[in-house]
Subunit: 253 residues, 2 copies
């Protein structure tokens, strides 16, 4: 009996769990639930979001399919919408922007305002490739991320000054980034701050800390800060409250 069960289990399990290459074969267990073999990838993803896993260069090989499923089958958008709901609730209960025009929010750009999912999916979530990324960004084809645009618009309505702060190279990508943002509805912000030549080679964390510090020295009060990387949200002058947008695709130090 025990052997029969074992044998039948072996026959049965692939059907019950529809474990096979194609996601189409496991409709009821895939997103928003996951396949059992994805449990370790879920652990890894949560470690990334909680800043427990740092300095990784690529998505772990066994989690590439998981990350693709996470990003494209609904859970990413669900998570993202949840974070933006938290941010909206925070804005609603916090003080309004002061009439002096110095209450500010900071937004990162890549995978905060604009999505690079199509690019990273095409690269199978592999290692960072500066020239390929530059070619992608130059196309001005990054889709805007609607729940983030919603928060952005709310903040402008309420009189906050919004600063877009990006590690993208200003000389190479300044005009195309501005055009891409505009085309996706991100207009009306106070300033687009990108990496100027003297900041090349700095980590994102060091560069962004310096830029935020400069804003504070100009008199701005950073009321909120939104980014998909912890390096957007830690360091100097991070703001009264930070919101971490999910991103299991890559890590920026």
């Amino acid at each position: 009996m025990s052997n029969t069960i074992t044998l039948l289990a072996l026959l049965l399990l692939p059907h019950l769990f529809l474990i096979s290459g194609a996601a189409a074969a496991r409709p009821q267990c895939f997103w928003p639930g996951q396949a059992p073999e994805d449990a370790g990838c879920l652990s890894w993803r949560v470690m990334v979001e909680a800043n427990n896993a740092r300095g990784w260069r690529t998505v772990p090989e066994q989690c590439v399919g998981y990350v693709k499923g996470y990003m494209t089958r609904g859970q990413y958008l669900r998570d993202l919408a949840g974070v933006m709901e938290q941010a909206s609730a925070y804005v609603d209960q916090a003080a309004d922007a002061d009439a002096d025009g110095l209450d500010a929010w900071v937004f990162d750009i890549d995978d905060t305002c604009l999505s690079n999912l199509l690019y990273y999916e095409g690269k199978q979530f592999g290692a960072y490739d500066p020239s390929a990324f530059k070619a992608w960004a130059s196309k001005e084809a990054c889709p805007g991320i609607p729940p983030v645009l919603g928060l952005f618009a709310t903040l402008l309505d309420k009189g906050f000054k919004v600063f877009l702060l990006s590690g993208r190279d200003e000389e190479a990508l300044g005009p195309c980034t501005a055009a891409n943002l505009e085309a996706e509805g991100f207009s009306g912000y106070e300033r687009l701050i990108m990496r100027s030549p003297e900041h090349r080679g700095q980590s994102s964390s060091v560069f962004k800390s310096a830029m935020r510090k400069q804003l504070v020295e100009e008199g701005y009060r950073i009321r909120g800060n939104v980014g998909d990387q912890w390096s957007d949200l830690q360091g100097d002058c991070v703001g009264d409250r930070v919101f971490k947008i999910p991103n299991p695709m890559y890590f920026v130090p």
Copy 2:
């Protein structure tokens, strides 16, 4: 054949996946995968771990079953082990403890070293109840959390001084906490720091910042800091690196 398989599957699954109670109705999607209706609870849990969801008083009503499943059916232990693996890797690549005996790590106690899962499960993950919690803690029956004990032991082996820092009331719970820790293998630490009368009423974040600052003023260098609450890991003198242990059961400001 198909019915036989179905029947055997029903017999088999409880053993394979230890599914019981309500979960039996959705065997193929439970832990480590989740049921589709749990997707919103997964979003919420990740927001808690990433410190996007703050100030919540109880687990959302619709997520009580989800949190129970998360905590008891394997994914919590998997996540916890992952975080402790990250910590071990960090310890392995970091400098050894200096011979001056001032390299320190700080560990929280509740749901970091000692588990209160049995208590919170009994309370259906409801609102904090100070007198019931005091009665529970007084029983000295909190199980130790093995992967955390592993890191604790490694650090002692390597010559680090380990400080246990808890918001538990020292007068009420000092002796029973020390006894519970000892019984669960947490011995050899440098100091057990609990909340003395002058710190009553302070938030955990304020109290723990003050205690860590005192350690730094004594000359200790906090090399690492482990806790299940962001209030353990933010504020003053948090340490060179922090590790967030998962906890979707309660929030401490």
